[in-house]
Amino acid sequence: MDTALDTPLRFVIHSDFAEGRQVQHAILEEITRHHFGPDATFAIRLALEEALINAIKHGNKFDPNKVVRVEASITPQIAEIIVEDEGTGFQRACVPDPTTDENVERIHGRGVMLIESYMDEVNWQSGGRRIRMVRRNDDAGR
């Protein structure tokens, strides 16, 4: 797998959606600057948003004393993004599948599966407090 060589973008934000959105915008600007195609851009925007909301809401539980750390390494070929919160983590395997007949009318629980569907590689680290996600710019030169 390619690794990103540029110096990564780093952010430390409070547990606040507005600050999360600023980080999302900054990273997406970088994605655009590196000429990511429409599908990769859509995927990264979606996954990043879900990861940020989860870190702020489920991880830090909106605690103003806790921060979320974000790191993005972006090259024209690939984007690697890490989002880390200061919560208690969670077990990926224990999140129920939202696509089963029993669960499809439940209001919550689609963020994690969307992240995994749209990114090429996803690792949950540090007991679930840190997520690392990788997406190739497969649209480049298509």
Binding site: L46, I53, E105, H108, R110, L114, S117
Partner: protein
């Protein structure tokens, strides 16, 4: 419908309430709560409500927005109402397919087709 926030454009055609999302991102949790409340008002305003949501302008969607749509659908069903989604762009359609919510919602290609599909 002057109460509905600027991000919705609501028109009434026969007995169908047609709601057009006017912003391309209906993602922000705050927006979503507001939109959900505005749709609730429409749903609760009559018996057997018919609601048509036009997604032509929507080019991003979060899991929270999906939850809001499921919520609206559930409330509609409780009142014997009907929900139709229309004009969903390809990238957004992918989100519905991946989450298998295209099996829960009735999705039509165009607003006219959705309109014609109410029972």
């Amino acid at each position: 419908m002057s109460e509905s926030p600027a991000r919705l454009n609501v028109t009434q055609q026969k007995d169908v309430s047609i709601v057009e999302f006017t912003e391309n991102k209906i993602l922000d949790e705050m927006n979503i709560t507001e939109i959900g409340q505005a749709l609730d008002v429409i749903v609760q305003s009559k018996d057997r409500p018919k609601l048509l949501l036009d997604f032509a302008n929507v080019d991003h969607l979060s899991s929270a927005a999906l939850g809001m749509l499921i919520n609206v659908n559930t409330k509609l069903k409780q009142q014997n109402g009907q929900l139709r989604l229309a004009s969903i762009r390809p990238q957004i359609m992918e989100v519905f397919v991946i989450t298998k919510l295209n099996r829960l919602f009735r999705i039509s290609a165009t607003r006219a087709e959705a309109f014609g599909s109410f029972e």
